[in-house]
Symmetry: C2
Subunit: 318 residues, 2 copies
């Protein structure tokens, strides 16, 4: 698809240099790329250089690629110049559909043929964003998490008119650039992680709106509770351990009825045999032969390591 | 309320010794209490001792209280004997309303007057569980997270017939026993953390049911994404940072419209002025004078520490 094989890319263009676009710039610089950035805001360059300077000590701790340097950032005066010799383009403009649609068409016109252009959109399907582009086949979604220079996840998806090779190229490129990639085989508004965190966020907003919990309660309930496990073990495998030695099968059979309880404003799906088996089988695959005892030991060590890393091991309370 | 002041409690009874009850036993032993456990299952003692043995190395790392020892666990032959001289009772029976209602009435009859009895229920309101008890004033919810010996959070709430002093006593006791407590001033099915994780869990189940994501995708999307931040910074403050220097106010004004997007099956509340201000003010209080730059630096260090602690810092990918 793209003229450059993913691991050989050296020049990346970042379009839009706010919190997300600037975070991408910092990430690509730390991984040793030459980065050209463009942002129409008058104070964009100052803000971007501040962001990179602030992020650099963290990136040094993560380990820089050979030759990585903030000095390899160039601010382009125009969009056309920003992408003129790019081997990959990451678009991180404000989250407005019309704006992204026009901008992606402009980028498509200015970027060398075959070069993949990825959008950081938090949830628009590429099908809706690629309609104005002359060669929509190279337009993909590459959705990062804040800050892109630290959180590994990138969700990659194409639109109806995206070439499958562009999706594959983008996934390979992000992996080569040090990210963790989930490639989606269909378009889903909000992709995967944002749908999950959006459900949690909406329930939290309902609780604040109704005076059921404060903002502080909500944050504490996560950081002192399930958030400690989710840093290294996802909600599915975590819940499988709640089933004890019987695993997810026991958990679903035991707690399944609570799906009908009004524990959130979100209605649950019917827990039929097919769904139950899909979840149980998925957890078995994720366990990958590890016994319940092994998983418990791993989880326990993980929680302790996270507690220690985040400064919460001050010894016993009594 | 209770005859023993919370910090002076030495003898705790744990009723039900499965995954949660057994986890409580391990926690109380590690904090130096004498623990008496009762569970009607024939193999309960073997299972419980295995659980405590498996958890002990983790508890040693956390730091044991003086005199803490697995040998301070006694298995009681009957419920009455288990609670006969308890200064606090933690009930962790299976999640069935009728069963808990009857069991709490039995415990209330057998436990010395004034001693607080807490239920580990995942979501039943105490009002519904305390109806059969003779002295319901001392019955509270003390909802832990799995495993109770590692995850600090306990949600404390009373029912309509619970004395306010019992709720306060329980909150003080759990703090003295090394837990992080959220005291709720009202009953809310699922309390706070379970409502949040249940919303996420239900959205995940919908996605699996519809073939939109695999179990593995869901876990990866959390552990490689937002889960890394949630170990030490809750969803509210995390989202405030997504607003850049403009904070939560900018974030809500910028991403507010996406609340109407179909990013989850859960409908969002109306983002009116009151809700917006409650969220913005709550985040300001949580920031507690820290600037945006300070919060970003803290978050970045936190993510790096968590990545390192969970073995994910293997240096740059290229």
């Amino acid at each position: 698809m793209s003229p450059t094989p993913p691991p050989s890319v050296r020049r990346v263009a970042c379009i839009g240099a706010g919190v997300i676009g600037g975070g991408w710039v910092a990430h690509f610089l730390a991984r040793g790329y030459d980065v050209t950035a463009w942002d129409p805001a008058p104070d964009a360059e100052d803000k971007l250089r501040r962001l990179v300077t602030a992020a650099w000590p963290a990136l040094e701790q993560l380990g820089l690629a050979e030759g990585a340097s903030p000095s390899r950032l160039t601010m382009a005066p125009t969009l056309d110049e920003a992408v003129a010799d790019a081997e990959f383009v990451q678009e991180s403009a404000p989250e407005k559909l019309e704006l992204k649609r026009d901008l992606l068409a402009q980028l498509d016109a200015a970027t060398p043929p075959g070069v993949v252009i990825a959008s950081s959109t938090s949830g628009y399907p590429m099908t809706d964003m690629q309609t104005a582009a002359a060669t929509p086949g190279r337009l993909v979604v590459g959705h990062p998490f804040n800050p892109p220079y630290l959180i590994p996840l990138v969700e990659v998806a194409g639109g109806e008119r995206t070439d499958r090779t562009a999706v594959e190229w983008a996934a390979e490129f992000y992996e080569a650039a040090g990210k963790s990639v989930i490639t989606m085989d269909r378009e889903l508004p909000g992709f995967i992680a944002n749908r999950l965190q959006e459900a949690l966020w909406r329930e939290a907003l309902h609780m604040v709106a109704n005076g059921e919990a404060t903002v502080e309660d909500i944050d504490t309930s996560i950081t002192e509770g399930p958030g400690l496990r989710w840093a290294f073990m996802g909600p599915m495998l975590t819940f499988a351990l709640a089933g004890g030695e019987g695993g997810m099968a026991h958990m679903l059979d035991h707690f399944g009825p609570s799906l009908k309880s009004p524990w959130t404003r979100l209605e649950a799906p019917e827990l039929d045999r097919a769904l139950r088996d899909a979840v149980v089988d998925g957890c078995d695959r994720a366990a990958d032969g590890r016994t319940y005892a092994q998983l418990v030991a791993e989880r326990d060590q993980g929680v302790i390591d996270v507690l220690r890393a985040t400064g919460r091991l001050d010894g016993p309370a009594r």
